[in-house]
Amino acid sequence: MTARRPAWWLYVVLVLLAVLYILPFLIDVATSFKTEPEAASNPISLIPQTFTTAAYERLFTEVAFPTWFKNSVVVTLFVTAGRVFFDSLAGYALARIPFRGRGLMFAILVAIMAVPNVVLLIPKFLVINQLGIYNSYAGLIVPLLVDAAGIFIMKNFFESIPVAVEEQARIDGAGTFRMFWSIVLPMARPALVTIVILSFQGSWNELSHFIVAANDPELTNLTKGVAQLASNQLGQGTKYPLKLAAAAVMTIPVAIVFLVFQKRIMNTSGGAVKG
């Protein structure tokens, strides 16, 4: 039985909805190339009457956008690398190594996953302060190096692959870490790509942790910088083209990752619903 062709009205409805979802982003980009008066007088047109890149130039002169961008890149790279390594290490042990205390460790992990992020704002600040890493890259990066959800994903993945290869390697006398590093990890590439995507997206878009981990302008990242720009903590005026240019540029990296890994993201995001 072949599926019937969808009715014409289905296309009309879908196209209208798609326009509603896409139009805000097009308005964002269009407005970032407008002059400030034009952004105010004609907020909806997609083609600037006087095309100008002034907003993008002001990102370099008026605000510390390059610093924010650099910090976001540094933090995201370290956090992603850390999560790939530590999450897979712990996930492997929980899935494959029968050690005493494993059940307890897993129970703790599930409990930790239930703690909502916003509840941790004050606690995180307290401990970062207590450890003396407030206003340092360590404070920005180290608390994010591991995530419970990532360990969970890796554990589930390792449980789904056959043990035969590892058993052969064990008979050949390979140590646990060596086996993990040179045999197990290469097999885990699909799950690792998932961790990379989620970590990248998570740490690039993260805001609250960076608010409580530092107040040094030199350590401001993109989300915090743009949020402060938006709330006029960095001077008065509407400055819509400037703000929208900042929002557009900070969206580009996640947009690229999204478009490249689209299929995989849409298939795995069930496990990573954001609030």
Binding site: Y21, L109, A114, P123, V127, L131, V273, K274
Partner: protein, 336 residues
């Protein structure tokens, strides 16, 4: 021999999990205990909370927030009211919209399926900060939304600057204004009339933002569920001569019930955590109508240096979210 192998395995196991669990313990478990202590202490943000001159005050911080008619209580009551309306509007709308999007793009012979899915999901991967910046522009008094409303003759409000509750505004339009019976009684420091204000126009804009950014994520959950159901059921219904709407209502929807339930509870949990948008967009204004418990907790601690009360608010919020999570577990167990 077997014994030494096993003890070696235990050592390896602990070595493997140690880095991750030390980090989680130091930056998640330990801080929660530390904040629990702060919530029952008089620490003011100076020095270590564990130093000798910080005292134990019992439930004082909690009672300051929950009783007594103080400013703190009114702020907490206002934040709860705002968030309750946020939940009541966002959760049903995002669930219904996500389901509708999933059903629409699920059609097997649809051309451009991938394109539509991408369009609907893209807002979900972008940062809340970037979307909020965009929203501030779209919803400003002479912004794109009001320009579009103007085409159909509606004079739109100054969304993010408008503290009027939408229920109050609607009641005002039909001549109802603050009946004494409702202004005399208070709950959590604010009058019943204030509880009935509805979300302010500013909060309504945040409600639309949440729907915009989460409907795509939940759409994916519904698409996955629809794929699991398969087309046979629908085709069987078609053979029986049922119309499209009947098939959806009597065949598809009952089978989607577990997913609907998951989406509802994930929504319930997520909507109590709204912070990034408020920090970026309004900082709780106008007239505190976008204050949420999550943001109030941050503000009380970091801006007002009332750390005990801020931590207490965080734990009350934690309790709400834990209850909702337990409710979800319990209800799902009933089903299966």
């Amino acid at each position: 021999m077997a014994r030494t192998i096993n003890s070696g395995r235990t050592r390896d196991g602990w070595l493997f999990v140690a880095p991750a669990f030390v980090l989680l313990a130091v930056f998640l478990a330990f801080p929660v205990l530390m904040a629990l202590w702060v919530s029952v202490s008089d620490w003011r943000g100076v020095g270590s909370p564990f130093s000798g001159d910080v005292g134990f005050v019992g439930a004082e911080n909690y009672s300051n927030i929950l009783t007594g008619g103080s400013l703190q209580q009114r702020d907490f009551g206002t934040a709860m009211r705002n968030n309750v309306y946020y939940v009541l509007f966002v959760v049903p709308i995002q669930t219904a919209l996500a389901l509708a999007l999933a059903v629409l793009v699920h059609h097997r012979a649809l051309k451009g399926r991938g394109f539509f899915r991408t369009a609907f999901y893209f807002p979900s991967v972008t940062s809340a900060v970037a979307i909020t910046v965009l929203w501030l522009f779209l919803f400003n008094s002479s912004g794109a939304v009001n320009a579009a409303l103007g085409w159909v003759g509606i004079d739109g409000p100054n969304w993010f600057g408008d503290a009027r509750g939408i229920f109050h505004t609607a009641l005002g339009a039909v001549g109802v204004d603050a009946p004494a019976a409702l202004t005399e009684h208070r709950m959590l420091g604010i009058s019943w009339w204030e509880w009935l204000a509805g979300p302010s126009f500013a909060m309504s804009a945040f409600i639309l933002l949440a729907v915009f950014t989460t409907s795509g994520t939940f759409m994916l959950l519904f698409i996955a569920a629809l794929n699991n159901i398969g087309e046979e059921v629908d085709e069987a219904g078609m053979v029986d001569g049922a119309g499209a709407w009947q098939r959806f209502w009597h065949l598809t929807l009952p089978m989607l019930r577990p997913t609907v339930f998951t989406v509802l509870t994930l929504g319930l949990i997520g909507t109590w955590q709204v912070f990034d948008q408020i920090y970026t967009g309004t900082q709780g204004g106008p007239a505190k109508t976008t204050l949420t418990p999550a943001y109030l907790s941050f503000q009380a601690s970091f801006n007002s240096q009332r750390w005990g009360e801020g931590a207490a608010i965080a734990f009350i919020l934690f309790a709400i979210i834990v209850l909702l999570t337990l409710f979800q577990r319990w209800a799902l167990r009933e089903k299966s």
